[in-house]
Assembly symmetry: C2
């Protein structure tokens, strides 16, 4: 490799020296997104957006299989609506952006840009709902939302972000709770099977739940450095919004009643999760199922007779079945191209040069293991399929293994702090249920409660902080 090529990789900060800087290096250099003149807001570049499109397509299909219908509600919400549910306005008002002038005039009532759409959607549901026969409403919107964060970070904490928000109302508590879980299961499916990131499903504590919700369920994931990323949430609202928003209907007994509500969302933050869960010192590493480019073909000694033609021939065959790219740039050496596409996280590269052609083969190189595999040209189409599957599986297993290794048990605060220092990672510890203990743990360690996992383990019966009786096992960790 030439000096220039070395520099090319050196430009990325070492992942174990400064993970935060490594992260932004990847975002910019892999051309996923860029900073803009609108402070705290990013532009999502085509390569990053293609990841989002793959997430959308997979998720939207799963949604439609369980009866979700897409709709669209206004981006602007009048101040009076935001204020109807007390906890909700307290949670969101401090971080909204307000439109106060429009069409050359000062507005009589200011309008906020939606930080989430419960309030505007509730006003519509109250208009649309009449009888139990109309229920359930199972609507979703794919849209942009805005939250005026003080410290921002591309994808993870951007003032504007893209997401989907599902909002449902149901006749019974039971049906609403079932829907809450069903959507959480879809998120777990998306994150585990598409993004190759294992999740822990659980219930958020009171202090960590969504503003206005009765219960918030979460899928928690672990990043490269052991920190947590909340990857998706599903909320059960009971009648907390349907009563103040007067969403009334005539029930089966002919009486006036209020339905039970849920909401649930995942966002472009998942792209941050993919980067931080899988990336390494060579750059981004994309799971094949969500990768915009699954395989790149790099011809070697392109000027030699027949090389470019053979490479294009193979490209055209594979392009029918896989998301392919071929790198015919003449100004770069093969070595530069190898680094470039590794940095962009493409799961497989195919090298093909004059000698390979003579021998009727190509060389297939895995991004995850760097393994080189000679494959006969006539067998590539099939072989590629199994290699992509193996990469997907291996990437999941690596994350799973890390999560197991970096999850430890603490019986007391000394163990808690020692484990966290050694491991970063997740701590399993008992909790008495007091918000005060939760707060103190956070103050002392920087770790927050991730969730009360569905798979409970009984460690002992003493709160890790106060030592009083405890029957809840909580997973704790520092977070993004």
């Amino acid at each position: 490799m030439s000096g220039k090529e070395n520099n090319f990789v050196k430009d990325i900060t070492n992942i174990d020296e400064d993970f935060a800087k490594w992260y932004t290096d990847i975002v910019i250099k892999a051309e996923l997104a860029d900073y803009t003149d609108t402070k705290g807001c990013i532009a999502i570049k085509p390569y990053g957006y293609a990841i989002w499109e793959n997430i959308q397509n997979y998720t939207d299909k799963k949604f439609k299989e369980v009866g979700v219908k897409n709709a669209y509600f206004p981006v602007l919400i009048p101040e009076s609506l935001l204020e109807k549910e007390k906890e909700h306005v307290e949670g969101f008002a401090p971080e909204v952006a307000w439109v106060t002038e429009a069409g050359g005039q000062k507005l009589e009532e200011k309008l906020c840009i939606r930080p989430t759409s419960e309030t505007i959607i509730c006003t519509m549901y109250s208009k649309w709902l009449n009888s139990w026969r109309d229920l359930p409403f199972v609507y979703n919107q794919w849209c942009n939302v805005l939250r005026w964060e003080k410290e921002t970070r591309p994808f993870l904490r951007s003032r504007e972000f893209l997401w989907q928000e599902g909002h449902t109302i149901h006749e019974t508590e039971e049906e609403a709770k079932r829907r809450t879980m069903q959507m959480l299961d879809i998120y777990a499916d998306v994150i585990e099977n598409l993004l190759a990131i294992p999740v822990i499903k659980g219930l958020k504590t009171e202090s960590e739940k969504f503003a206005g919700a009765e219960e918030t369920y979460t899928v928690e994931t672990m990043m490269h450095d052991g920190r947590a990323l909340q990857a998706g949430t599903s909320h059960y609202f009971a009648q907390n919004f349907t009563i103040p928003f007067e969403i009334k209907y005539q029930n089966r007994e002919g009486k006036e009643d209020y339905p039970y509500q849920t909401s649930w969302g995942i966002s472009t933050r998942l792209i941050g999760g993919i980067i931080m869960a899988h990336g390494d010192n060579r750059g981004l590493k994309l799971p094949p199922k969500v990768a915009p480019i699954q395989t790149v073909i790099i011809p070697i000694a392109m000027h030699k007779e027949g090389v470019k033609e053979k490479a294009l021939e193979i490209f055209n065959i594979l392009n029918k079945k896989y998301r392919m790219e071929i790198d015919l740039r003449e100004q770069y050496s093969p070595g530069y191209k190898f680094n470039d596409w590794e940095m962009r996280g493409v799961p497989v590269r195919i090298e093909i040069g004059p000698k390979d052609i003579e021998q009727g083969k190509i060389v297939l190189v895995r991004r995850d293991t760097s393994e080189k595999i000679d494959v006969k040209i006539e067998e590539i189409e099939e072989k590629l399929h199994s290699v992509l599957d193996k990469i997907q599986e291996n990437m999941y297993n690596i994350c799973k293994e890390r999560m197991i290794q970096k999850t430890t048990i603490a019986h007391n605060m000394q163990e808690f702090e020692e484990n966290l220092k050694e491991n970063q990672g997740f701590i399993k510890a008992m909790w008495c249920g007091s918000e005060k203990c939760e707060e103190k743990i956070h103050e002392k360690t920087g770790a927050k409660s991730r969730c009360i996992p569905f798979k409970e383990e009984n460690i002992d019966n003493k709160c890790v902080f106060c030592g009083k009786y405890a029957d809840k096992m909580v997973i704790w960790g520092r977070q993004y």
Copy 2:
């Protein structure tokens, strides 16, 4: 039909008595959209949104076939950016909404909600472009935009609407102009083949072009009442934005140069176009290719043994190939259901009752012609395909016929006014090129220049208004 069922249809205003009221009746009653507490903004209901999704899927596929890549840019644009191109800010500043407070503080610089994204995208392009090797950029975003209209109308003129906006930059004028035309052709394809509405392609006059563009091309359509709807536009910018936004690059000769730019868009206004081009006194009439429900099955005498089962059996077979619905509601009579689904514009209904089952057939009813066709049960799957195709074709032909009939030639203003009075519709007339004549024609008749069509006809060589020499034939019409 019972009295109630009669009322049901009577609720829709007569299309030829009050077309505007008929339009809003359809929007609300067919559950396409609804008014919201955010003045001038609508909520798009699932049935309306499903039409948009079908338009998106079709269009996005066509885009990707010609190398368009999706991306996403911030919804908020700093005031200073909007002001960089003089014509552009003059055109858009009066109708933008401004964010002046956020996160509990007054902003130092106010931010507008994008009315269109040329300015913010140009700042990114200037950052991203270095060499001729990087060109072209052919990016698009599907997003919401906001324009503070004084008079609003669901879909047609809503303050917030959904659209796609493509923004490209190219090495040469020729390439940029070719892209402008290519995208116009895709719009013509979408509108003619998917929406079954014929278009006239042409160039906008100077006074009608996009603020800041060098040339604006349009696809113009004609509605039920003869008025025009501008259905999509494609703009050629030359270097009008790339120079003020300093989008520079090193060209093939190693010199600094500015690229040539285009932008192009279609929006949810097309849903308004579908309603107004095809609807009738029974309600909405959807072209099969864009209809969320292509066929509805209505069992007759549902309580009789075997009817529901047979209907469901047929539903399950057809549902694999077509977008289907089955109406099993017990509280409504078949007659009510017929009206209901006709009003919602479903292209085909299938009636199946005990006698039909005995005879091994169903009755298929076309929404466009009311024709009833007996079809053997084993032949429905195939037959339905050809019937849907015929409906699509027939709906296009009806619109085409109307456009031909309602397009007349005028040699002078008397003819112009008489024709318009008689026909509404389009007037073909010669124009000298003076903006003043254009303005006067508008003042006098309410008609604006739609476009200078690609298919020119030479009527005579005198301007219809001033009588001076004219070599441009313009199509004129009142518009939505």
